[in-house]
């Protein structure tokens, strides 16, 4: 699965994108964020408050309760500050 990161999430994790193999039992966006958070200090720093993190599945906004099955690109980023 391809994960892409933006803004301070990208900066804290240290890469713009990566391919990951998800363990069994990662069903929802919430599961994914909490699994990622445990992968190391950089992920912990980026995802210390997972509830504020926004996620897009194949470039569509998703809720944390949404299932991630079928998505080929999952984007993880802070609340947006455009305009």
């Amino acid at each position: 699965m391809k994960l892409v990161y933006f803004a301070w999430v990208k900066e804290r994790i240290g890469v713009a994108e990566e391919q990951v193999e998800l363990p069994a039992g990662i069903i929802t966006v919430f599961d994914l964020l909490h699994w990622l958070k445990g992968r190391g200090a950089n992920y912990e720093a980026a995802l210390q408050a997972p509830e504020i993190i926004r996620v897009a599945l194949d470039k569509e906004h998703a809720d944390h309760s949404d299932p991630i099955a079928g998505a080929s690109e999952i984007a993880i980023f802070p609340p947006m500050t455009g305009g």
Binding site: F6, A7, A56, K59, M80, T81, G82, G83
Partner: protein
């Protein structure tokens, strides 16, 4: 009506929104000149957003975006505006990259036969663009250092939420 999953397009609408994401300056006068007139349009409402210097503290803003999603998300909002108000034209232009104080960040224009639709649609477009379009601002400071990422404002969420109640 059901929006097309890829484009956000609503069936049955004749007008298409114009959405552009660009690195160069936005020529506001040229945008306005190319949207107004034509005989059918009675009112054109535009919003131009500029980079502040924050009291002289900032040397630039750096805008990052999610290519592909940013265009699609703004287009989806614009299609919703076209569905909600009888617009004759709808345009959104957003810059990305390095933007200097005084320069444009965003331009939104909505044209209609009468002013109320144009005012409301332009406001709607900006409110949702701020909360849904994947852009992030980072500050560059006058002393040459890189400042922090601009923080999201809860008041922007409230501004967008009000449209669900209207």
């Amino acid at each position: 009506m059901t929006a097309d999953a890829n484009t956000g397009r609503q069936p049955g609408l004749q007008i298409e929104p114009e959405v552009r994401i660009e690195t160069g300056r936005i020529d506001i006068a040229a945008e306005i000149a190319s949207m107004g007139g034509g005989g059918a349009i009675g009112g054109l409402v535009t919003f131009s957003g500029y980079c502040r210097d924050e009291g002289g503290r900032l040397s630039a803003l750096e805008l990052e975006h999610y290519p592909g999603m940013a265009e699609r998300e703004i287009a989806g909002i614009a299609w919703q505006a076209l569905e909600r108000w009888p617009l004759l034209a709808c345009r959104a232009v957003h810059r990305t990259g390095r933007i200097l104080p005084g320069e444009e960040i965003v331009f939104v224009g909505c044209a209609a036969e009468h002013r109320h639709a144009a005012f409301e649609a332009a406001s709607f477009l900006m409110d949702f663009l701020k909360t849904r379009a994947p852009f992030w601002k980072r500050e560059h400071l006058k002393d040459g250092s890189t400042g922090g990422w601009v923080e999201h404002k809860d008041t922007d969420d409230l501004a967008a939420d009000k449209w669900h109640r209207l």
